[in-house]
Symmetry: C2
Subunit: 441 residues, 2 copies
């Protein structure tokens, strides 16, 4: 019989148990932080109607949506596809369950999304996203923008040692500037040029500004604008000094000021930075990206922003929101590649759990000791120890080798131990053996 | 603009935040129990190659597999589909990563599977399964069958109050009986008749046995066999009394005896029951189902068994396994329908978390108190309280209403509180208000 190939499809992350523990530990820390900030978890279906998913997608995303083929038994259903982010299902959820929700609705979604992208290093087709959003009804104060950023910062801090930097801007500032200069027709191009400015040389950026036909004053203004970056007071002062006579810009500066002030109040390391625009995204106000300055090549590890109307496809009611996301599958992969998973945090605890997964392995010498071993395991579990029992009919040496690979401690049960209950526990790390009573000390 | 319909596709579970908390609480309890028994978590991709998924499926399952349409950027890939269980990806995983795993490999998979079934009450197209398996290399002692059942029993016990009963059999007993009676050609039909015996009248079963051409002695034997049910000693004695001269049957009885003995040793409520055969499944030895005797209509809430060779499609090596699964999406749904989610456990704790999701809501009276409120929230979080801040510009009364809906306690911050830090905390349940210092008492 021809045997099937067992490698996973390319673009899929499949971890060994030792790595999976670390992944789960990070995921739990992020989730706990989200909850500690009052975010409530929901889960939306992975499969949704195509009309819902394609309504928002657009651009490259649309080409990357996995459609699902109807089965014989779902033939009458509408066309369906796999969700590619958490925001689209969230909008549907909020409108569907509106009357049962409390607004502002602090919500978190933690699950897998899917994009059928071309396979390439560091890109995944199936990936965890850990989102938070605050959704308001009709209005949502700017303070929530800071709250979302502060929550994501705390979540990253919960497992990452390296210094972090959140770079914040507000798209209203640039939108107003464009309006004031009568450059509305070039708006998309300008946002795109600034979005790419860090990835290309200054000459390239200058060329691009030439190409879309900016005059010298406008180019100077854009260059001044793009160079503004730093702590709150400095950034707000420099923005004011640009003297842009436009209400949208003024509103954007005021919002940015407020967000940075509230982030400072919570000791989140944030700066204002006009190079952050989030490209062609649908954000309308606050935008942010997060970097590890000592590992700049990792790129932004967490980003998001404010959107004026979450649910325009479903309702005439207005649901403004602000949200952000940690793309954990990619982040985990780059942290692993850069050997950052075993770093120690400032408080001396390892950044991630690298311990053996199981506390105690019980090794019965023969199957006559199985019953006693299972009872002992039950007792140890009630005391909070994860406990494995090695029930194979291999030789004792082989069983102990297996036990030492998976567990921190081992207890051998022979005829005598089962009779007298005088047990010894061995620390596989140090080789030290002690009477079991010492377990509690 | 035409607005889109926001209801989820039928067959999808979408919970409100209050219910999601209960669901997650149960899921966590099961996962913790699995881990306490030494099971290591892995995650396999949701999307796998069709040749892998269809290789095992067969029968109805094959008709229910959701295929995935290639996108423009994955056009060169092999045909793909969504996994319909955890066992197929596990087999692929074990063969793929064999050299890095420790056998017997205690493994748990917790995630969503997909079946495009006809929509009907209590059936889900996207559903959580919480599987455990022990996979051996070449051999796997029968003691692991008991270990898997005991682990699942403990996992269910961790959140379910009602009495449980695990009904265990071993397919070798019936296989050998069929061999001894020279009824091999009718094997599939006999397994199916017994599998359905509880769902139809005794007359129907008798008719079915007639129809496939059993003689009176054979019918009497089958009826005696099917009636055997009870504690270990009784069941083993009655099986022996059938006097079936067949080595497979004898081996099956011996294995059942051992499994029930080890379950008794761990106080799992299990009986032998010859009506349990797991239909046309691929199990080859131990089979089991779990019921709540006081809620018989819920059907089996957890089942599984032993399979001789997990990975025959991938390798000539033999990987025997034993496993079982809790289908949590369906179980949660029937528990909810039967109002079993709020029951109290024997130790007096609620069976499930029904508390408000958030500990403390901080309510600044105006946005002047936002900064102080965010700092206070940060402090409370470091003390372990999940803390929301109500940052809306609504009136105080509306903010307090919101706070009382989502949180157990509230703290109002006005100008004076922000200045003096003399804070009061209100218990929304009792209405009682105390100075904040009492929070720790």
């Amino acid at each position: 019989m021809k045997k099937l190939n067992t490698t996973p499809i390319s673009g899929m992350q499949e971890l060994l148990p030792e790595k999976q523990i670390i992944f789960d530990d990070i995921k739990n820390k992020i989730e706990e932080t989200y909850k500690s900030h009052g975010f409530q978890k929901i889960e939306t279906p992975t499969i949704d109607r195509s009309e819902i998913l394609f309504a928002k997608a657009g651009g490259d995303t649309e080409k990357q949506i996995y459609k699902v083929v109807k089965t014989a038994e779902t033939a009458e259903d509408a066309d369906q596809a796999l969700r590619f982010d958490h925001t689209v299902p969230l909008a549907r959820y909020v409108v569907e369950h509106e009357s049962s929700l409390n607004f502002p609705f602090r919500v978190t979604q933690i699950g897998k999304n899917f994009r059928g992208e071309r396979a390439q290093k560091g890109r995944f087709r199936e990936f965890y996203q850990l989102d938070i959003d605050v959704v308001g009804r009709e209005t949502l104060p700017i303070a929530y923008d800071a709250e979302v950023i502060a929550t994501l910062y705390d979540a990253l801090k919960s497992f990452l040692k390296p210094k972090m930097l959140i770079r914040v801007s507000n798209r209203k500032i640039l939108s107003g500037l464009i309006e004031a200069q009568n450059l509305q027709e070039k708006s998309a191009q300008l946002f795109s040029i600034i979005d790419h400015a860090e990835k290309v040389s200054p000459e390239k950026t200058a060329e691009a500004l030439d190409e879309i036909g900016l005059n010298q004053d406008q180019k100077d203004l854009m260059n001044s604008f793009m160079s503004i970056k730093g702590p709150r007071a400095e950034v707000i002062e420099k923005l004011a000094a640009l003297n842009i006579e436009n209400e949208t810009t003024k509103q954007g500066i005021k919002e940015l000021d407020e967000v940075l002030k509230l982030l400072d109040a919570q000791d989140a390391e944030a700066i204002g930075d006009m190079l952050i625009v989030r490209g062609l995204d649908y954000y309308t106000g606050t935008v942010f990206e997060t970097f590890l300055p000592d590992y700049q090549k990792l790129g932004s590890i967490c980003s998001g922003g404010r959107y004026e109307n979450l649910a325009r496809n479903y309702t005439d009611q207005n649901f403004p929101g602000v949200g952000g996301s940690i793309g954990l599958t990619r982040l985990f992969s780059v942290l692993d590649e850069n050997n950052l998973l075993s770093n120690e945090t400032e408080d001396g605890k390892p950044a991630v759990a690298l311990e053996k997964p199981i506390d105690i392995a019980i090794v019965p010498i023969s199957e006559n000791e199985n019953e006693y071993s299972l009872k002992l395991a039950k007792l140890l579990r009630t005391k909070g120890f994860s406990t494995d029992t090695i029930l194979t009919d291999k030789k004792l040496g082989a069983k102990l080798t297996h036990a030492a690979k998976i567990a921190k401690f081992g207890i051998v049960i022979g005829e005598n131990e089962a009779k007298t209950s005088e047990l010894k526990i061995k620390n596989f790390e140090t080789g030290e053996e002690k009477p079991l009573s010492s377990l509690n000390s």
